[in-house]
Structures are given as C-alpha cells and as structure tokens.
Point group: C3
Chain length 325, copies 3
Amino acid sequence: MKLTHILEARQFKDAILREIFSLADEMKLFDKTNLTEKERKRCHKLKLSSQPRKKIMACLFYEPSTRTRFSFESAMKTLGGEVISTESAGMFSSAAKGESLADTVRVVSGYADVIVLRHNKEGSAKEAARYSRVPIINAGDGPGEHPTQALLDLYTINDELKRIDDLKIAFVGDLKYGRTVHSLVYLLANRKNVEFYFIAPQPVKLPEEIKNYLLEKNIKFTEIENEEGLEIVLRNCDVLYVTRIQKERFENEKEYEKCHGVYIIDSRHVCLMKKNSIIMHPLPRVDEISIAVDDDPRAVYFRQAANGKYIRMALLKMILDPENI
Amino acid sequence: MKLTHILEARQFKDAILREIFSLADEMKLFDKTNLTEKERKRCHKLKLSSQPRKKIMACLFYEPSTRTRFSFESAMKTLGGEVISTESAGMFSSAAKGESLADTVRVVSGYADVIVLRHNKEGSAKEAARYSRVPIINAGDGPGEHPTQALLDLYTINDELKRIDDLKIAFVGDLKYGRTVHSLVYLLANRKNVEFYFIAPQPVKLPEEIKNYLLEKNIKFTEIENEEGLEIVLRNCDVLYVTRIQKERFENEKEYEKCHGVYIIDSRHVCLMKKNSIIMHPLPRVDEISIAVDDDPRAVYFRQAANGKYIRMALLKMILDPENI
Amino acid sequence: MKLTHILEARQFKDAILREIFSLADEMKLFDKTNLTEKERKRCHKLKLSSQPRKKIMACLFYEPSTRTRFSFESAMKTLGGEVISTESAGMFSSAAKGESLADTVRVVSGYADVIVLRHNKEGSAKEAARYSRVPIINAGDGPGEHPTQALLDLYTINDELKRIDDLKIAFVGDLKYGRTVHSLVYLLANRKNVEFYFIAPQPVKLPEEIKNYLLEKNIKFTEIENEEGLEIVLRNCDVLYVTRIQKERFENEKEYEKCHGVYIIDSRHVCLMKKNSIIMHPLPRVDEISIAVDDDPRAVYFRQAANGKYIRMALLKMILDPENI
C-alpha cells in the first residue's frame, strides 16, 4: 500500500496496520547479531534505494523533542538514508523572522524527500501537507495528534499481548493535552471490541470532541475520577497507559499543581493488576510512575520506546521506497 | 578552474560563472527520476570522491538560518559528503566562552574539509579565511555579503530569462542591511549593460559605498522613493528583487516601524509588470509580497530557493573535488 | 583489548594506552593524500563495519561544546559511522520536562551503539553507565573528568616529546574546576617519574582530593602561587599546560575577576622555557596565552586539538569494532 502524508492516527485501517507491523518486525533484523546470509540479503533490500543519491529526511522541530527526533533519525540512518535537522526551529529559523509555515515547508520540500514536523500548534501538519511537495510526517502538533507514537504504542500492545482487538485499556494522567492519548484512542477506535477507561484530574479530562467521536462510533468508555474507581480499573484492564502532566501546556502554575501528582502509579497499584497486563508510558516520565515499578515484567515502557525506531523505519520505507519492499 | 574560499560576490568573473552554472545544471540530474544509464554514470562522477574517506563540511552558524543551512547540508549529502553542524554557534560554542573566531576556525579546520560560515559581523568570512587551513564559504556575514545567494540569484535569472546581461533590475526593500542585495549588485556590476533601480525607505537606503562602486564603474542606477516612481520601474524592469525589512538589524523598534510595510508588492503592482519579467525574493518573506502573487507565473521565488541546492552542489564539487568534474 | 565505557582517565593503564596511541597514529592515514594501495586497504579495514547497518553514535550534550562535539562527530564520520546529535540537551530535551538521566539513557541506548555524554553534573557519566545498554563515553561531566581530552593530551605529549614518562609538567590556571587538568593528572599519575607543578590563584587551586591521591601514590608535586615560583618552573618544565579560568563555573563575578588574568603566558615567559619543551592548552583560550606565542614552535595547542580526532577515532574503533583491528 502507498503511504504519503502521515497526519493523524485515524488514517490507519486494518490492512495498512498489518503491513506496517509486519515490516517493523522485519526491521528488528538490523539490530540482530550473527545474521544468516538470507537475513543479510533481506536487510540489504529493506534499506532505502540510494540511486542516484541517498534519500534525505528533514526534521523540522519547532518544539524540542530529543527522543522523537533521535528515534526518527536513527531509523532513517539505519535504512541508509540521510538527515538534515533543526532541533528548535521556532527559535532558530525563519519562523522567528515571521515566515509562515507554508513558505518554510515549500522551501524545505526542495531540500528533502520527506519532512518530519513537530510543531506547537494543532493542525500544523495538515497545513504543512497542503503546501509541501514531499510527504509530511506529523511528529506531534501541539495538543493535536502524534500518529507515529500511536502506531508504536499499538505495535507494542501487539508485541506484548499478541492482539490489538478485544482490549480493555485505561488511560491515566493528562488526557486533555496528551496528544499521544488522543492519537491512540483514535487508532484503537478503529479496532474491534476495545473498551476505554479514562482517569484524569478535572482540569485535564479528555476533550469532548474525542468523547463524541467514541459515542458516535458506539464505543464503550468510562470516565473515572476517584481512587476507588482506579482500583477497579487496575484489576480489570489489559493495558494501563500512563502519561505525564505536561507542565509546559499550562498557562497557570496553580492549575498545574492541582493536577500534578494526583495519580502516581506505584507498586501498590501494580500488584492489583492482572498477570498478563502491561503498563505503558510514552515517556518522558517525571514521577507519575514510581521507579520501583520499572523492574516489574509488566512495565514495558522502555521496550515501547525502542519499538519507536522499528515503526518509523517501516513508515519511512513505505513512504520513500515502496517499490522495494 | 580552482575555487578556494568563497568570500564575496565580486570574485566571480564571467568564465567561472559559466562553469558554475553549467555544473549546477547538471546537478539537477540528482533529483530526476528514471535516469538513463549515461545520466546515472554522470551522477556517480559528480559525487565527491570518498576515498579514503568521505569529505566533511562543517556548518558554523553564529546566526541561525535553517534555510541556508539546510540548503548547504542537502547539497553536501546529495553529493555523498558528510556534515558536522552547529545551528547557533554564538550561543552554544566557545564563542560564548570568549574564544576568538581565529582560534575557532583553526580548530574546526582540523575536523572538516570545508567550513560554511554564517556570522553576524561584517568581514568575518575574510577574517576566518586568514586562519583556516581549509576553504571558507561565506554564508552571510552580518550586513556584509552572502555570495552564494547572489550566485543562486543570478543562476535563477539565467534559468528564467536565458540571459545574465542586458538586464533592468529593481531592488525593493531593505537595501542597507540586505546583504543578498549587496552581493547581487556586486555580481551584476561585472555583467554587461545592467541597469539598476533602488527603491527603499529613507533609513534603509543603499549604502554609499556600493553607490560609489557603481559610479566608479560607470554603471547606470537610479534611486526612487515615491510610489509613482515605483510604478514606472515596475513597467520597465526585467527583474523585481524584493527583500524583507530585517527587524533584527534595527536597534530601535520605531525606526523599524517606519520602514516596514512601506512597499508591499501585491497583484496591483504585478499587473503593471512585463509579461516576461520575474519577481524574486531571497526569503524568508513576511508580508512584503502578498501571497496572492504566489501563483503568478512571474513569481519565481520558490524555484529560486530550490536552485540554492544546485548552486551549492556545484560550488562544493569545484572546491572539494575539482579533479573529477 | 576490549573497551566498553570510558568514564575516567584512571582506567587507562600502560598496555591499553600503547594500543590506543598506536591506533591513533594509524588514523592519521585518513587525512593523508596520495595513499599507497597498502595504506588504502588499511584505511578500509580501520573503518567501522557497516554490516548489516552503519554504527550510530549519539551525542548527548547537556552543556554545549562545539569543539568536542565536532571532534567526536568528525571522528565517527571519518570511520564511516553515523551520528545523531543534540547540542543543548539540557535546554531542548526531556530533561527540561523533568526526565531523569537514567530514563534518557535507557531510551537513547535503543537508538545508538555508543553514547557520548557531556553533562554539567559531576558523576553523570558513571550514573549513565549504570543504565545504558551501550557504551558511554564521558565527554566531560561538570568539574569532574574529561578522559578523552586527557588521552589526546598525553598522545600529544608523546607525539611531541617522544615519551610519556620522565616528565616535569606544570599546570597553570583554573585547577579547581578544570576537569581536563584533573583527568590528565590522574592519567599521568599512572606513569613513571612524573613531577607536577600546580600554579593557580587561591580560589581555583587543585582540589584536596587530587592532592591526596598524589600523596597516597607518593608522587612528587609542588604548589606555587607567586610569579617568582612560576619563573623557576618555566625554566624547568617539559610541558606547560595552561587552562582558561572558566567564568561559567563561578557563581559570583567578583570571585571570577580575582582569578582571571592573574597568570597570562606571553613571550617573556616563553623565552624562559627550555628549547625542547611544549606549551599546551585544551582550548578554548580567552587571553591566558598571548597570541604572540602562537607562532612559537613550542606552542602545540592547535596540533593538540587536531589530535583529538585521531584519539577519538581510535577509541570508537576499539569500542565498536574491536574484531577488525
């Protein structure tokens, strides 16, 4: 299947998901030692064509994110591609001189084969896609979406639980500004028999827009606010997805203080959970999951981060060199 | 011809210009699809030698400029070279600790084969060239020069109008601090039968030094201040070169406000222009050209930006690997 | 010998030093022109294996240092490796959002084969090594250590004086916060018959901890404060190692002013020195060595900087591809 822009999680239906996940599985070969001759040949084929020149990916990050940027850059370089990169475009580039995103994207699309855009304003990726001559990958647009994170999250669920349907998933933390939550909810809303629990302090509850989306699609979800409710959810869920309260999204320190630290997942919580459940986090974490939890086999967040590279390799291959898969 | 340092536009006489432009034309092959076997071989030859190691370009940017940096880096990587880069040397590097440019350049020239220098101080590139053991490319030195921009501007004129002599060219905007203007004027002053019009608010008129240069060379130029004069120029010019009023060059906000927005090129202006004329802009643009103009076939500024890569590829090839052209 | 983490200078004993230096010598081949066929083959072998993919080095710099970063990146790229890099992680990355170094390193070690860490906090490199799944190279941890600088310093001494034992070495400048001094002292303390002189203003004298280390190992050292003592030392020393008073380490401007400019090495000092002695500086320099000294054949600091690349190439090869040396 041909991929062009990656703008929102909703665009990924079952067939393309299967293709992405299967390709991501293969990408793990690149980190294996002692490859067989057959595997070595497969790796060679999985790399991006470099004729007559290597493909170039531009990272245009208006908001800093070393983790996401490193993940994309490592993916591109593992595939034998090249990268041009700015880690704080808002501060350093023409944006500071008053240039529109449309103009920036028109120019950068003359220098690269794909643009990875991280922006602080919701809707930026779609705006960019209107003006770009090359594919745009949305790497987070303000409180909007972060579709590649949702893909790696779902890929991790598949990896750990061997299914992406028939799931009970609980989201805890900042559900208002947490774009990874928004994207994963939209993505899971395409799946079969998924049930959602949303646990958030009042000021950062899930946006109405997303709840309406779930209601329209007739998908079961429950909002929970008290500790008691949380315990029932912990006993039942297959996936506990925790997010950081993002200080940088609050205009007012007091509002932040009201939300921060309300839900901290520690060993007491984890021991309530099912044996074959998993705990996820898009990272960075501050203190919303106690470090005592890190060694629990159900804590998969570092494996989840590592999966980011394989998912992004799969996406880049499908976008830039689909003829050679 | 052998190129070493690229410091100012004046250094490019006719023969070398022809060579650069012809090489830049060939560089477009790298972005062509479905190359013939012959073209593919030519691309291979146009790449930089990578024996015994790939060539390395250092981007030393004391002033941020994502556009120019991306253009150079994309050029270098398309040629199969490597890049080491800093996007805000003034803030991040030893300069902040008080190191002289001379020392920085002496050290960096041990790590790279060519240094692309963007600096906020006029004359920095020449200063750097005195101490560097490798070629210096001036990528803008304060209000000084920006010679590779002038080359890509002239290349664009040649591309669009099929000539670089016998031109009437009008410059509008910040002609005092606009180093791309300075460099292009110096470059065009080497050509035959070029006539200049300079249209700028009083505080940002063309420096006396450049006017004296034109007077000495007996080159025709006219300075215009009123809207009426502008209209006459628009009807007559072959090239309209618009620049941004650069807020960051003003120490005083009021002075900036006096200049900003005085000349805004919109559809009413463009409809006065000749059919086979062109509108250029070094970008970034703020509002000095209305976006309604973008779709006019005479608006060539995005093609102009794209040409930056090809010109820089040609220059890098001539500097780093002249034996294999 | 197998190298994993590079955390402190003390870890380098004689045998491994010899191996590193001999490999660094060979690395100079990459900058030679007109290689013989044998040399070309040796270069090919010295490059990092790129099967099934190129090795990736992550530069995680919480404190900016263009020089050190460029040196590592140039080294890695000369060896045919890839780099992902952040030049101000403290400001741009998840650290700003409150992530622990442990978490950052766990994540980044999923994207790279080696992590070069520059951090403002002493002990960070050791902390990182505890959590990383890939080797950590300490590229400076606050006032702690900078072991690769110590290695290139010692390599330079060997290059210039043809020995790394039987040395009289004088350190001048900031000996308290100067981590390059600390690392080189520790490294030299492993050698035979080395005698130290320490010359520093009162507020930035050598830490007690290091003096105690020398006392325990029964190594001769002298602390000097007055100009007269300095002159005697200059007449006697084989190596004069000058460091900058690091303004950024002082909390109080007045304390800095007391130290800055107390010892400025100029031609009058240099003419006292032995003919076959050398003057070193880790750079950047502000004014602690007068530029008049630069042309003296004993001033080796720019050659010293250039050696940084070869030492780092040797270390990267030993860490990432020891089977192919």
